[in-house]
Symmetry: C2
Subunit: 406 residues, 2 copies
């Protein structure tokens, strides 16, 4: 297998460090708009980096991405950029005849009149519109294959395959107790993506109603996370699992709730109130005359790069899927989860917990595809594939998952 | 009198509309970095605009300001820009031999080690450092001559002259009940200046201690504002009056509290937490490569221009000075205040209440200087001049002030 990894930020860099220990691929080309980031990711691998090449590419430039895929004869494009670049990279892979894996799906747009009741363009709609084309070409786009979405979807499939006869509700629940020394406010994941997830209308699925939306931060609940993280306030957030799971796993209700905590919710509300979550440019004075910038990019530029915070970070992050249903005639409720301790991921990989946890899952998936354990064609979510081999290989990577009967 | 008005934003435009009704000056040159703003301020005066000229000038370009003052033989420069431009305009006036009037003073810098206990560079320090030079030249820099500082300082002087034998405390108190239709968040005054005032360490004066600072938003109190505005939560804020009043009016304690309200305080705290109050540039991606912008300028660009909100605004704004002391052996407590109803200022002048209230005071002051009722040399605050003529002329402008015995 020959892989083009696009994006050498926090997650992309972690992908290289995890993949470098696995023999399943021949070459991984690491491309970033900033060639120094790509080079530094490869250089950091030292002797283990012989299968890696650094390149420069603008993820918006489809023709350049196609040329890069062809020049290196890549079989698959792994997209580790932010969700703005999903569509050009997805199209470039198809044009070049490569398979495609991402960790976030094409962006949603709220319903014009009833944004907090009905879906407009849903997450992934733009990609699923091309499903038939990929299927006919016997090509695979494996979408939403990070940790959430990704491992959370694998958990949902595992629950349906082995743990339940019928499922009432699948609720992805994400929480952490991470703190960062020396910063009053330092998100542990891309603020661009976090704003996108949290301020878009949250989407909920119900079998008799289909997909619908609510007000941001709806249905708050306190969820008790395992391994010492403890109770965290979670609220509905727009997330890919709600769009993916019902396509392959029958359930009466699917939700995603994010353990943001009160302070973070208020911070996001304020950014929205001031219009600082906007992505369309505003004009501001610059030293050499007026310049156009996206306010959300400015928010990101004012905060520390989450990928650089690992040394100052303490605590654990938990991704998981809570499932309620019936097994052998009796009610059952489980939480399937994966916890990463920042101290462990820093020591083992030099990567902070949140980006490491995101990055390990697409590498596991690539290995399953390379070895033929997973195969398929079309635009498919992680729950379209058998879950057991994935969970076993994840454990073999040294990062086991857990099951808590509720 | 020939006046150069620098700044044709909300306050500058209101200055032209107020001044246009008064005969005391021959010419007012209206200059802005954006020539369209200057032209539109003058054009809006219609037939009443014959004494006004529009010009373009960069307030940072001292030589250009000097040239403009000389070309139009101006006697006085009225600065209606934001406080960043105080020093170049103050210096340019001195160089050209013109008098100078502003509504905010040169900026402070917090104490490097003990920012919330001791003053670093104080508001106005840079201007007062040149006091002797102005005095020797028999030239006048009348500083802090808006509404607050400005009218609030005149009230303090009036209290000392006519209402008290000894003064215990002078506390400027500012509050409003303004709302803006169609906006969840729309400050009624320059957000750049508001952030500067509110996030800098507040300064307090005590006779036995001198000037010192506190944590932002300290000493909250609920102050009951007159004319139906009612109770508003006020907190300590850095403001010029605390630096000006003690130089000319004896008082044991001088404070400034701003009726920000809970939501606004939390919004400012969040901006600070995220570093979005910063003025030093950050680098962000732009359509044509990375650009450097000041985060605070981006915050301002995301909000509506307060000067344009008059039509959608409702309510009143109150500026005033609360004084506690002794008169004829008995304790006395008064609140001297000036209220502007937005409906009135829009109907009479097409200006919203907050900018109109700021703008009327320097025009009154210019008229007192033009007619010789006020005169002086050096760097002087409004409380250095007799208060009664100012208050009488303000009333003659159709905008009376009030006194409430507490």
């Amino acid at each position: 297998m020959r892989v083009l990894l696009v994006g050498a930020g926090g997650v992309g860099t972690a992908v290289t460090r995890i993949a470098a220990r696995r023999p399943f691929f021949e070459v991984m080309v690491v491309a970033d708009h900033d060639p120094a980031r790509a080079e530094s990711a490869v250089a950091a691998l030292g002797e283990a980096g012989s299968r890696f090449r650094a390149e420069r590419v603008d993820a918006r430039d489809e023709a350049a991405v196609v040329a890069l895929l062809e020049r290196h004869s890549c079989d698959v494009l792994l997209n580790a950029t932010d969700p703005r670049f999903v569509m050009p990279l997805f199209r470039a892979a198809r044009t070049a005849g490569a398979d495609y894996v991402d960790m976030a799906m094409s962006l949603s747009r709220p319903h014009a009149e009833r944004p907090y009741e009905e879906c407009g363009v849903r997450l992934g709609d733009e990609q699923f519109a091309h499903a038939e084309e990929w299927e006919k070409a016997s090509a695979l786009a494996l979408v939403g294959m990070g940790v959430e979405p990704g491992l959370s979807d694998v958990f949902a499939r595992h629950a349906a395959d082995e743990l339940f006869d019928t499922i009432e509700e699948i609720g992805v629940r994400d929480g952490a107790n991470l703190t960062v020394d020396g910063y009053d406010f330092a998100p542990s994941f891309s603020i661009w993506t976090t704003i996108e997830e949290c301020l878009n209308p949250p989407v909920v699925y119900e079998a008799d109603r289909g997909w619908f939306t609510t007000e941001p931060f709806s249905e708050p609940e306190v969820f008790d996370f395992p391994e010492g993280i403890g109770p965290v306030e979670c609220v509905n957030v727009e997330h890919e699992e709600v769009l993916l799971v019902p396509r392959w796993v029958p359930a009466r209700r699917v939700t995603f709730k994010y353990g943001l905590g009160r302070e973070f919710i208020e911070t996001l509300r304020t950014l929205h109130l001031l219009g600082l979550d906007r992505t369309d440019p505003v004009t501001v004075p610059g030293p050499a005359g007026p310049v156009a910038v996206s306010p959300r990019d400015v928010v990101a530029a004012c905060l520390p790069d989450p990928a650089t915070l690992g040394e100052r970070m303490h605590g654990k992050t938990c991704a998981g899927t809570w499932v309620r249903g019936v097994k052998d005639g009796a009610p059952r409720e489980v939480y399937l989860y994966h916890v990463v301790d920042n101290q462990w991921s820093m020591k083992e990989y030099g990567c902070q917990a949140v980006v490491w946890q995101t990055a390990v899952n697409p590498v596991v998936a690539l290995e399953l595809l390379a070895t033929g354990v997973w195969s398929g064609a079309g635009v498919l979510g992680p729950e379209a594939f058998p879950a057991r081999p994935f969970l076993d290989l994840l454990t073999a990577y040294g990062s086991p998952w857990g099951l808590r009967e509720q």
